[in-house]
């Protein structure tokens, strides 16, 4: 095997997936997988929240400044690429980067607010992009387990794909990146229709009713397509599909009980990194069926 020098990539976890947060298992599994096969992830020093929907929904300049501060910090540490596993974060960072590139005045204001310059030459990667760019060969080489007949519905949601002209990642209507990764872990991809639908995202607390309806459609579609589990790469999708699942079942009177797993967890299972260390015990919906498939 070739010994490659590990590429150094800035790591921007974002609030949702750090330890002690709602989706810490995503962060944990991303880091575990990176240790095993990925490039070297180095946390951006003293990063701050990207502002998420709340910022861009109410104050464009604030939203841009909060995101750009992180990019500038990364630039100062000499990173050429940043991984932001949370698609809310990666989307905000990419959009902000483009907005300042397109608008000199905004750039000036933002640089003034964050008290730092911003060159804009750092590339921001979402998690699927990172895996596709750096880890596909490694997964093939180092895969230890092959799941038995595990059918996975890959769920992208909104933020990985849209707006496509800015993010420029995969086909916005029929993406296939996640399926390729799922298949690399040895699982079977099921073709289903709602993989790019919206789960209601940030409305989980403020308009739970909307979230319940949208997630019900998604769960129903995946289950009807024969999926044993749904793979995601977004903490919000996960929160809505996993934590809210019991409530959905009650509200719409249908039993799903379908595990929602992070794509990083799936990779981790294929590499035999151990379910607990990947955080699979932290899910609301029991993930045992998935873990067992890799036995």
């Amino acid at each position: 095997m070739q010994i490659k020098e590990k590429t150094r990539i800035g790591y921007y976890p974002g609030c949702a997936i750090t330890m002690g947060s709602s989706s810490e298992e995503y962060g944990t599994s991303v880091l575990r997988v990176a240790e095993a096969i990925g490039p070297e992830l180095e946390e951006i020093h003293d990063w701050n929240c990207c502002g998420a929907s709340s910022a861009h929904a109410t104050n464009h300049k604030l939203s841009t400044a909060l995101s750009i501060r992180n990019i500038s910090l990364a630039e100062q540490s000499g990173f050429k690429e940043i991984l932001a596993p949370c698609p809310m974060c990666s989307q905000r960072l990419i959009i902000s980067q483009k907005d300042v590139a397109d608008d000199e005045e905004l750039k000036k204001d933002v640089e003034d607010a964050i008290e730092m310059p911003c060159n804009g030459d750092v590339k921001i990667l979402n998690y699927l992009e990172l895996i596709k760019n750096y880890c596909m060969d490694e997964i093939a080489e180092k895969r230890k387990k092959t799941p038995k007949d595990l059918k996975i519905a890959s769920y992208y949601g909104c933020l990985l794909l849209r707006p496509p002209k800015v993010l420029q990642f995969d086909d916005p209507e029929n993406p296939t990146s996640m399926e390729e990764i799922v298949e690399a872990t040895g699982a079977i991809s099921v073709d289903w229709e709602l993989k790019t639908n919206c789960c209601g995202g940030g409305f989980t607390l403020s308009r739970t009713d909307i979230v319940l309806k949208l997630t019900n459609d998604i769960l129903e579609c995946a289950v009807d397509a024969g999926a044993d589990a749904i793979a995601v790469a977004c903490p919000m999708c996960h929160a809505n599909l996993d934590m809210r699942q019991k409530k959905i079942e009650k509200e719409y009177n249908r039993k799903f009980n379908i595990p929602i797993v992070y794509i990083s967890e799936l990779i981790g299972l294929a590499l035999d990194l151990g379910p607990i260390s990947l955080g699979l015990n932290k899910h609301f919906i029991d993930t045992e069926s998935v873990v067992n498939a890799f036995a």
């Binding site: 998420a52 929904a57 109410t58 464009h60 300049k61 919206c198 403020s206």
Partner: protein, 184 residues
């Protein structure tokens, strides 16, 4: 409703204001309704997304800024993605929300949503990052009616170690605070 167009309305040139702020040119929209057709939240909205654009086209500022629709938009960007005329509709909603807050016109029926955004940003302002528990706390205090709906989830999250009691302050939290000040 009746749309009354007066010189005052025409002079205000809402569409131009929107364009100057965001670069979004609503004149391009020819009202095909594809945004509405694909909107996952449209069923809850008081006006369809295309109608909001129509308000902007016609200079009906108040109608647009007091709508519930702008708050119900989930920013899933399906509309922008599929718009045949490349109008950035989701981004337009952002601008309208901003203007709505500035003018104090945010629809009280969607107070949950505006309060959530406020609680979220307050947490960022204070700590530099989100402290989910404290953010939740602030939100629930302000919107007590919503407190019950997450009664089951909260404790379960705590038990799985998913809600930390300690807010995590970043070193540069003062810098973040200054960002908030400068971006008012």
């Amino acid at each position: 409703m009746k749309i009354k167009i007066t010189t005052k309305e025409l002079k205000s040139d809402f569409a131009k204001e929107v364009k100057d702020r965001s670069g979004i040119d609503v004149k391009k929209c020819y009202q095909c309704g594809k945004c509405t057709a694909g909107c996952p939240v449209a069923y809850e909205m008081d006006y369809m997304p295309n109608q909001i654009i129509r308000f902007v086209q016609l200079g009906l500022k108040r109608e647009a800024l007091t709508s519930r629709t702008i708050w119900l938009c989930a920013s899933c960007i399906t509309c922008t993605t599929r718009c045949p005329k490349e109008v950035k509709i989701a981004e337009l909603m952002d601008v309208l929300r901003e203007m709505s807050l500035e003018e104090g016109l945010a629809n009280p029926l969607e107070k949950n949503i505006t309060t959530f955004h406020q609680a979220f940003l307050n947490s960022v302002k204070k700590h530099g990052r989100i402290s989910e528990l404290w953010m939740l706390n602030e939100y629930k205090m302000k919107r007590p009616k919503t407190a019950l709906q997450d009664l089951i989830i909260g404790p379960q999250m705590l038990s799985k170690g998913k809600l930390s009691f300690l807010p995590h302050d970043i070193k540069g939290k003062d810098a973040v605070k200054r960002i908030f000040e400068k971006c008012k």
